[in-house]
Amino acid sequence: MKPPAFEYLAPVSLEAAVAALSNEDAKVLAGGQSLVPMMNFRLLAPSLLVDISRIPDLAYITEDGDGLRIGAMTRHHAVEMSDVVRQRFPVLHAAMAHVAHLAIRNRGTIGGSLCHGDPAAEWPGLVLLLNAQLKTTKRTIPAGDFYHGALATDLADDEILIEIQFPGLAPGTGWGFEEMARRSGDFALAAVAATICLSDDRATEVRIVVIGAHATPLRLTAAEGLLTDHVSIGAAADAAMQEISPDSDLHASADYRRHLVGVLTKRALAAAWKRAA
């Protein structure tokens, strides 16, 4: 398996990278952990690769008020090992264990995963769950507007994602992240992530996102609306199963994925409820 021929450019400024992307069939090379295998399989044959890894100052995790700003070239492993991520967004820390394997997490970038837009990948769902803003070379895009479909984003051909901005979570927010994959490190058959805020044992703010069981990561708003008290977790999980349109493939049937989303929603909500204060 060998990739097709391409031109290679390693700019050291965003301006030069953006200018290079105006070439037809140019593609950004970030960590390369999705792009290179796709090229090795010859599923993709870009004429020019623009390697943005030599552009300084695109990899960082910075506190911003209660929230965090994370540079697009930050590697998954840096997020996994970050103390401030663990303190402020434990759900991000927990989810990183599901992103492929150590060597892939060392090299793969958050920005690359988001822009590749695999609906079964963790990051697209996590930015939606945490209501993040995606800052590019042109504008700032709310996570909810970023995906048009599987592997399809709102980015223009000459637009580069540079930073992900996570607003702080309300104090006492509980979280859950539940994923099922056939093997450790595989893409999710389905995953459900949730955050819950409680007041007097009643849910006041609920966010539920499903990964891998729809063309894009999806907020399950009907299920969110049904979750009022601890007893309603079952009803919310039932609603979650009806809100998605999963596909059948080699790994799982649509029916199985639907069933899985019900089970994972129940578990994620129960975990989030327990952690909420």
Partner: protein, 165 residues
């Protein structure tokens, strides 16, 4: 700004196991092939060539990476280490010796990659427990051992006193 034409060979320079090396590579040449075919460093093995099997894992700037998911031209100026770097002048290093002691390998095809990942884990999490070790090993396909020997070897050199056989 470095621009490299398609289909032409370009000089690539980096440090391999502490030694400055260079060779010529087309942009599309995978680092795994560059190591073996251009530099003759055969310790790194090539399995699936799409990042799944882990056989080609090396370290770049101290982190385990798949050499089949990097183009040789990307590592210009970087510091790479491969399995050839592990042994000391006195022989196998601690992790390698533990692999031998616990029969952590049979055919040896997956071993170089496994050693490079475990080397990073040991540096970052010297007290990693069995579950964490197994999690890291899940990024490596071994069809001989059933993994138990590898886990035992790792537990021997990591800090988990309760996991020791």
């Amino acid at each position: 700004m470095r621009y490299l034409e398609a289909g032409k060979r370009h000089t690539v320079r980096f440090t391999l196991n502490g030694r400055a090396v260079e060779g010529d590579a087309e942009p599309r040449l995978l680092l795994s092939d560059f190591l073996r075919q251009t530099l003759g460093a055969f310790g790194t093995h090539v399995g699936c060539e799409h990042g799944s099997c882990g056989a080609c894992t090396i370290q770049m700037d101290g982190k385990a990476v798949r050499s089949c998911l990097l183009y040789a031209v990307q590592v210009e100026g970087k510091a790479l280490t491969t399995v050839e770097n592990l042994a000391t002048p006195d022989g196998l290093n601690e992790l390698q010796a533990a692999m031998q002691k616990h029969h952590g390998l049979q055919c040896g095809f997956c071993t170089p990659g496994i050693l490079m990942s475990l080397t990073q884990l040991r540096e970052e999490e010297p007290n990693a427990d069995e579950a964490r070790i197994r999690d890291v090993l899940s990024g490596h396909i071994c069809r001989c051992t059933g993994y138990d020997g590898i886990v035992k070897a790792a537990l021997d050199v990591f800090g988990d006193v309760f996991g020791k056989n």
